[in-house]
C-alpha cells in the first residue's frame, strides 16, 4: 500500500453545541484556544493531525447549523465529507429540545454514509448526561438508545451515554477504540502471556494518541477502579507540558520502594504500561523484556495488515 493511500476518517459529528469540541479536546489533549471556540457553526472541517489508530484522521463537523450557507455547503460537499469514512461518531445532546430535528440530521448523515462508506462503523453518544437527574438517567438513555437503533437500520449503531464529568466518556471512547482494533482478542491473550512471563502485577495497553486503555491484564484485584482514567489524564497533562517545550513524550519510569512502573512505546499505535510490585527485579530486565515483546506484537499487528482496513505502517 502506498504511503499516500487515502487517509481513512473518523467523523465526529453532531449539532452545534453538543459538546464535540470539548470532547475532542479532552480525549486527544488538544488545547482549545479562545478563538477556535466559535459561537457559530463549524464552517470548515477541523482536521486534527493526530494519528489515531494507525492511519485514521479525526474530522469534526457540526451538523444541522441554522445558517443556510452552512446547509448548502454541507449538501454540496456531502460526498467529499462522507467518503472514506472508517468510523462515524455522532454526538447527541441529551438536553436538546428539538429531538425530531436531531434525528432528522442524524438520518441524513446515515444516508450519506450508506451511499459513500457503507462499511463504516457507527457509534452514537448521548452526551451531557450529568444534566439529567440521577434516577432518570437509565430510563432516558434506554429510550434514546432504542430510538437510535431503530432509526439506524439497516446500519447497526452502538450507543453510549457519556458526560465529561464522570468516567462514562473515557469508558465509551475506550470501548469504541476496542472495537476498532483488529484481532483484539489475540492481542489480549498475548498480553496475558507477556504479563505472566515477566511477572508483572498489571500490564496496560494504551492507544497512542489518546491514552485510552485498549486492553489490560491484572493478576489481582486493584483498589482504584478509576486508575485508567487517572493515568490517562496524568500522561496527557505531561504531554501538554512536553509539547510546550517542543519535546515529545516517549517513555517514563516511576519507582519507589513498593513498585516500579514503566510506560513506553510499544507498537506503532500503542503504548504499554507495566507495573511490577517486586522492586528487586532490576529495571533493565523489565526493559529488555518489553523491547523483545515489542517485536512480537508488531508482527501480530502486521500479520493481518492488508486484509483489514486499519493500515499499520512500519517505521
Amino acid at each position: 500500500m502506498s504511503s499516500t493511500a487515502m487517509k481513512k476518517k473518523v467523523l465526529l459529528m453532531g449539532k452545534s453545541g453538543s459538546g464535540k469540541t470539548s470532547m475532542r479536546s479532552i480525549i486527544f489533549a488538544n488545547y482549545i484556544a479562545r478563538d477556535t471556540r466559535r459561537l457559530g457553526a463549524t464552517i470548515d472541517v477541523e482536521h486534527s493531525h493526530v494519528r489515531f489508530l494507525g492511519n485514521l484522521v479525526l474530522n469534526l463537523w457540526d451538523c444541522g447549523g441554522q445558517d443556510t450557507f452552512m446547509e448548502n455547503y454541507f449538501t454540496s460537499q456531502r460526498d467529499n465529507i462522507f467518503r472514506n469514512v472508517e468510523v462515524l461518531i455522532y454526538v447527541f445532546d441529551v438536553e436538546s429540545r428539538e429531538l425530531d430535528k436531531d434525528m432528522h440530521y442524524y438520518q441524513s448523515c446515515l444516508e450519506a454514509i450508506l451511499q459513500n462508506s457503507p462499511d463504516a462503523k457507527v457509534f452514537c453518544l448521548v452526551h451531557k448526561m450529568d444534566l439529567v437527574q440521577e434516577d432518570q438517567r437509565d430510563v432516558i438513555f434506554k429510550e434514546r438508545g432504542e430510538d437510535l437503533k431503530r432509526l439506524s437500520r439497516p446500519l447497526s449503531c452502538v450507543c453510549f451515554r457519556t458526560s465529561i464529568w464522570d468516567e462514562t466518556l473515557y469508558k465509551a471512547w475506550s470501548s469504541i477504540v476496542y472495537q476498532l482494533i483488529p484481532n483484539v482478542q489475540q492481542l489480549e491473550s498475548n498480553l496475558r502471556n507477556f504479563a505472566q512471563i515477566i511477572e508483572a502485577d498489571e500490564v496496560l495497553l494504551f492507544e497512542r494518541a489518546t491514552f485510552l486503555v485498549i486492553s489490560h491484564y491484572q493478576c489481582r484485584e486493584q483498589r482504584d477502579a478509576h486508575r485508567f482514567e487517572k493515568i490517562s489524564n496524568i500522561i496527557k497533562q505531561f504531554k501538554l507540558s512536553c509539547s510546550k517545550l517542543a519535546a515529545s513524550f516517549q517513555s517514563m519510569e516511576v519507582r519507589n520502594s513498593n513498585f516500579a512502573a514503566f510506560i513506553d512505546v510499544f507498537t506503532s499505535n500503542t503504548y504499554v504500561m507495566v507495573i511490577m510490585s517486586d522492586p528487586s527485579i532490576p529495571s533493565a530486565a523489565t526493559l529488555i523484556n518489553i523491547r523483545n515483546a515489542r517485536k512480537h506484537f508488531e508482527k501480530l499487528e502486521r500479520v493481518d495488515g492488508p486484509k483489514h482496513s486499519l493500515h499499520m505502517r512500519m517505521h
Partner: protein, 556 residues
C-alpha cells in the same frame, strides 16, 4: 528500536547515578503523593474519612481539564451539580493538613421534627380564633367532618405543590418556589396570577390582623381602665352569671339567620364612662390609634428584627390551648344534637352555611406558597411527604381541639350557640383576667408579625413591579398607606374576621390550592403521555371544588 534509549526524565539529584539495583529511595518519605492526606492530618471533630474514589477522580479530571483551556475560559469549568457536597470538600494547607469545609448557609439541614414544627408554626394563624364560630356555622357534626376532609384535601394539594418542581425535566429547579413553577407552565400569566393570589392571602391576613389588633387593644385598654377605676361591667352585657362569665355581645341576632353582616353599635351602659367610651371605641377610634404605632414599623427597610419574634406565635398558640382547656374544664360540656332543625339554644348538626367553614379552613390550612422552601431544609428529603402529613395532622388536631372544646363548652342553656363570635375571645368579658392575658399577649405578638407580613407584601409587589425590593421611600410609603387604610376601613365598617378570612381564603385558595396544582399535575402527566382518565377526572373535580368553594362564600 534497537537504539539505547535514555530515560526522558533525568535523575533529579545531580551526580546521583542511575543504579540498577532498583532499590532507590528517590522519594523523601515525608513528601506526599499528590492528592493524598494522611487521616491523622485531617483536622475536624468527627472521625476523619479518606478521600472518596469519586472525589479523587474528579480532582484528576479537573486538573487535566484546566490545562486544556485558558485560565479565564469557562468552557471546562465543573458545573455546580458535579462538584461534591460541602461535606466531602477538604481545604488543604501546604503543610499537609486538611480542614473540612463548613456547609454554606444554604445547606442547613434540619431533622424531621424541626421541619414539622416549622410547618405547624407557619400554618397556625388567626384562623384558630375563628374555629368555634366556623364549626358553628356548619353545624357541629358536619363541621368536624368538613374539617377532616378539608385537611386531607389541602394536604393532597400541598403534596402536589411539593412535587411540582420535580416533574420539570432538564432544568435545575433546586431554588424554585411555586410561583416559578407556575411561570414555567403558564408563562407570564402564571407568574402574575400566582403573585396576585398570594397577595390576596397576605393582604387579607394583614387586614384581619388590623381588626384583631384593634379589638385586643380596645379590650386591653378597657380592662386597664376598669381595673384602675374599679368599674364593674357585669350588668351591661348579656351573658351568664357566675365566676366563669361568658357573654353574648349581640343577643338581638335571630338564631338561624343567614345574615352574617353585623352592625356594631355603642352600648350605652350608663356608668359614667361615656367620655372614655367615646374616645376609646372599638370601631371608631382605636383602629386609628394603631396607625401611630404600626405605620412607622411598616416602613422599616429590613424585617429581620421582627423575624426574631416568631417564637411568640408558638407561645400564644400554646397559651390559647391551655386557656381553652381550662375554660372547657370549668364550664363543662353543653351539647345537644338536633340534626336538621334549629332550636332556641342550639344549632342544627348539618347547616347550609357550611361553605363559610370551608372558606375559613382553606386559609387555615394554607401554606402552599412557601412549602417548597420550608421543605428544602429537611435533612432526610425522602421523608418529606411523611413529615408534611404529620404536620397537617397536628395542625388539624389543634384546630379541631380548640373548635370543639369552645363549641362544646359554650354554656347553651342560658346562651344560644349562635352567640359564638368569629373571634371566640369576644365571648369573654374584658374583665376576665386569663383572657386579658391572652389578648395582651396576642396583641404584642401580632405587632411583631404585622411588619413581617408588610415586608413580604412589599418585597413581592415591589420586586415584580419595579425590580427592586426598596425602589424608594415614596413608593413603599404609598403601598403601606394603602394596606393600612384597608385595615382601618375594615375595622371600622366590617370587623367580622370570620368573613374576611373566608373570602380571602376561598379566593387565594382557588388559585394556589385547587386550580394551579391540579392543572400543573395534569399538564405534566400529559407531557409524559401518562394522563389517565380517572386522574384527569379527579383533578378536574378538585378544580370544581375550588370554584364551588369560592361561589359558596357569596351565596351562603
Amino acid at each position: 528500536m534497537e537504539d539505547d534509549w535514555k530515560p526522558l526524565l533525568a535523575s533529579e539529584r545531580t551526580g546521583e547515578a542511575y543504579t540498577d539495583r532498583g532499590v532507590m529511595d528517590s522519594l523523601d518519605p515525608k513528601s506526599k503523593r499528590p492528592f493524598h492526606v494522611e487521616p491523622r492530618n485531617i483536622v475536624e471533630d468527627d472521625v476523619p474519612e479518606r478521600v472518596s474514589a469519586e472525589a479523587s477522580v474528579m480532582s484528576s479530571r479537573v486538573h487535566y481539564y484546566s490545562r486544556l483551556t485558558g485560565s479565564s475560559d469557562r468552557l471546562l469549568v465543573p458545573p455546580d451539580h458535579v462538584i461534591p457536597a460541602p461535606e466531602e470538600i477538604y481545604v488543604y494547607s501546604p503543610l499537609g493538613t486538611a480542614f473540612k469545609v463548613q456547609g454554606g448557609e444554604g445547606s442547613v439541614k434540619n431533622p424531621s421534627i424541626v421541619t414539622i414544627f416549622a410547618i405547624w408554626n407557619t400554618m397556625m394563624g388567626t384562623a384558630i380564633l375563628s374555629m368555634p364560630w366556623s364549626i358553628k356555622q356548619a353545624g357541629f357534626t358536619l363541621g368536624i367532618i368538613i374539617l377532616i376532609s378539608m385537611g386531607l384535601l389541602t394536604l393532597y394539594c400541598c403534596y402536589r405543590v411539593l412535587k411540582s418542581p420535580k416533574s420539570i425535566q432538564y432544568t435545575d429547579t433546586s431554588d424554585w418556589e411555586f410561583p416559578d413553577v407556575c411561570k414555567y407552565y403558564f408563562g407570564t400569566f402564571g407568574q402574575w396570577s400566582s403573585l396576585l393570589f398570594s397577595m390576596v392571602s397576605l393582604i387579607g391576613a394583614m387586614v384581619v390582623y388590623w381588626v384583631l389588633m384593634s379589638n385586643f387593644l380596645f379590650n386591653t385598654g378597657k380592662f386597664i381602665y376598669n381595673y384602675a377605676h374599679n368599674v364593674s361591667m357585669s350588668d351591661s352585657e348579656y351573658g351568664t352569671n357566675g365566676t366563669e362569665r361568658v357573654i353574648c355581645p349581640f343577643p338581638n341576632e335571630n338564631p338561624g339567620s343567614n345574615c352574617s353582616l353585623r352592625m356594631f353599635y355603642l352600648s350605652d351602659n350608663g356608668t359614667g364612662t361615656a367620655l372614655f367610651d367615646h374616645w376609646w371605641s372599638k370601631t371608631n377610634t382605636v383602629p386609628f390609634y394603631l396607625i401611630i404605632l404600626l405605620l412607622p414599623l411598616l416602613n422599616f427597610r429590613s424585617a429581620s428584627f421582627f423575624a426574631r419574634f416568631t417564637f411568640l406565635g408558638t407561645i400564644s398558640v400554646v397559651y390559647l390551648i391551655f386557656l381553652v382547656t381550662l375554660k372547657a374544664f370549668r364550664l363543662g360540656f353543653h351539647l345537644e344534637f338536633h340534626w336538621f332543625d334549629s332550636t332556641k339554644f342550639f344549632v342544627p348538626e348539618f347547616r347550609l352555611l357550611f361553605p363559610q367553614l370551608t372558606g375559613v379552613l382553606t386559609l387555615a390550612f394554607f401554606i402552599h406558597n412557601c412549602i417548597i422552601t420550608l421543605m428544602k431544609s429537611n435533612k432526610h428529603q425522602q421523608n418529606n411527604v411523611r413529615d408534611l402529613s404529620i404536620a397537617y395532622l397536628l395542625v388539624g388536631l389543634t384546630y379541631l381541639y380548640v373548635g370543639v372544646l369552645i363549641f362544646g363548652s359554650f354554656p347553651s342553656p342560658p346562651l344560644s350557640k349562635d352567640c359564638i363570635e368569629p373571634n371566640f375571645l369576644d365571648n369573654f368579658p374584658s374583665s376576665d383576667v386569663l383572657v386579658f392575658v391572652a389578648r395582651a399577649f396576642l396583641l404584642f405578638q401580632m405587632t411583631t408579625v404585622y411588619p413581617l407580613l408588610g415586608y413580604l407584601v412589599r418585597v413581592q409587589m415591589m420586586g415584580q413591579i419595579f425590580g427592586k425590593h426598596y425602589p424608594g421611600f415614596f413608593h413603599v410609603f404609598t403601598l403601606n398607606v394603602f394596606i393600612v387604610a384597608a385595615g382601618v376601613l375594615m375595622a371600622k365598617f366590617y370587623p367580622n374576621i370570620g368573613s374576611i378570612i373566608r373570602y380571602s381564603g376561598a379566593l387565594c385558595g382557588l388559585a394556589l390550592v385547587f386550580v394551579f396544582p391540579s392543572v400543573i399535575h395534569m399538564i405534566s402527566l400529559r407531557r409524559l403521555g401518562e394522563l389517565r382518565w380517572p386522574s384527569a377526572l379527579f383533578h378536574s373535580f378538585l378544580i370544581l371544588l375550588g370554584v364551588a368553594n369560592l361561589l359558596g362564600q357569596f351565596f351562603m
